[in-house]
Symmetry: C2
Subunit: 382 residues, 2 copies
Amino acid sequence: MFFELQHTLRGSSARAGRITTAHGTIETPIFMPVGTAATVKGIFHRDLAEDARAQIILANTYHLYLRPGTKVLEEAGGVHRFSSWTRPMLTDSGGFQVFSLADCRKITEEGCRFASHIDGSKHLFTPENVIDTQRSIGADIMMAFDECPPGTAERPYAERSLALTHRWLERCFEQYAKTEPKYGYRQSLFPIVQGVTYPDLRAKSAEFVKQFDPDGYAIGGLAVGEPAEDMYAMIEVVNAILPQDRPRYLMGVGTPANILEAIERGVDMFDCVMPTRNGRNGMIFTTEGVINIRNEKWRADFSPLDPGLNADGSPLSFVDATYTKAYLRHLTISGEMLAAQIASLHNIAFYMWLVREARRHILADTFAQWKPQILEKITRRL
Amino acid sequence: MFFELQHTLRGSSARAGRITTAHGTIETPIFMPVGTAATVKGIFHRDLAEDARAQIILANTYHLYLRPGTKVLEEAGGVHRFSSWTRPMLTDSGGFQVFSLADCRKITEEGCRFASHIDGSKHLFTPENVIDTQRSIGADIMMAFDECPPGTAERPYAERSLALTHRWLERCFEQYAKTEPKYGYRQSLFPIVQGVTYPDLRAKSAEFVKQFDPDGYAIGGLAVGEPAEDMYAMIEVVNAILPQDRPRYLMGVGTPANILEAIERGVDMFDCVMPTRNGRNGMIFTTEGVINIRNEKWRADFSPLDPGLNADGSPLSFVDATYTKAYLRHLTISGEMLAAQIASLHNIAFYMWLVREARRHILADTFAQWKPQILEKITRRL
């Protein structure tokens, strides 16, 4: 993996860059749709790539380890071949999921013992075997195994947790160095900066992770209950320490506003379930504001779902040019699965449009003027 | 609407034809995917038309009357504009649904009083207002309002029901003659031949409906519990009476075998929920046989979903060339909605391939040799 920093916005930390992987290039800042089980819910890979213009998707180690399992993934020749997604892919380490989804949580120095949320079967994740599992999955970017404390964690817990995450990180990189990719292409390993909302812990963590000289860095443990201002403050602390010449990935973030604020503070990569999950519930992000499509006001509104256009004059997604608000409301009210498909594809296309526009305005040095204007527009409730 | 009978198979009743409507032409024999609420469940209209090659879809008067309602449909300018499906469309009259779905069934000479399955609200369907509703919907082909008795109905009930259906049919055609299309294009009205499995009642019904000289004829009340052989016998009775120069539509049928047998007996049009409903449950119709994709045997089968090809060398659907059996199994087992999307699109494409192949072999006079061979192949359990 190679990161080229193309431009840093004048008087700002916002950056535009390009990541090159064995499965293609990624233009940053970038949003990565979440494809937990190697599928972005409700969207064909073809439409994700060609229509929504996704460049990289995220899958989840915890879910893929349980289903279909590493044996099937190895027989398939890795997750790209298994799922038919041919572009870059990143796997989350499963740390967050074993703490949130798996019901029997027991953290020790060794790792974390958990019970599968599917059948209750017992499993152990360690820094070592999570690297092994990610080798079997075969994503272009792998994530370190960490503990993710809540955003409200008290200082003593935050300190203990960070120390454990750092010891685990050393073991992750040891295992990473000891193992080879299984499918003939490089897999990068990103460490994760933790430290809750304590600036000195965040700074300490950012300094600590630099020793591994990784291909990129992640900032974890944010957008987990703390005020947005605290999140932005932590990003500033961390990004002042992380090297300029590597991409920074803010995990699990977020709203369109969160993303633009983080871009302004020097973040390059994002992922979030919001566009798909909220889309399935009838929340549509548009270039003119936010829509609750179940609302009576859309009953006979035959205007396009989103009249917004890309810089090249094309609609954000083919569904925007095809389907009306009234029809999507009808499908949603009727419980038709096509509603979730349209909403998911549109919302992903919207997020991709947002980061593409951000990149365009960074490259043109117009980001500072554009950001407040677009935020005012897209955060309106329609 | 205009029907051109292009070819009748030598020594058989199987026919190839072409129906011309205001929204385009339909090559028969044809399968019509079921789009109950103006959406074929889980499939974008674009993929339905361009990938699965659907030429006409069916929507349901009962469902559209309840949601979104005729007012919205009229404001939209009809169901084509409302749903963005631009090709031909047919609406079922809602007769079958008020008897099967709506819980308060009360049939009188006037019509049928029923309670909505959505909110329990009370409604009345009459032959007249069902025509009015179908005028508001605006499909190219409308269906008469009939009573559909079970396939096991005793003779006295069958006789009474048929007499009522015939009186209702006269009222349907009276209302049809008295009303104009609302959107400027012709809407045809098909009468429905009933008569359970009594050959003389079926013959009587076929003779009765001819008086209206309609653009096409439907055969209803079959595939509702009677043996397949009885269904085939009834088709033969009816098609010997119906005029050659009009299309015949066998309602709600059926399996691939049912369809080929009915084509051989002179049926031109079909609809059935089987490809989409069974697809959502993991049943995949392929050119090599029937697959239960949940089966363990597909766990690590990385062959394409269906290796079959169209006569022009293309895959049946893009999903066949893209996704493997193992990946679809993974999605199905994991409860991912993409599973239903892939299975639905593939199964519809399979049904469209089947009738396209049937047509090709009718035109080439090779249908009689082809039918047993293909049936042996596609009805196998893999």
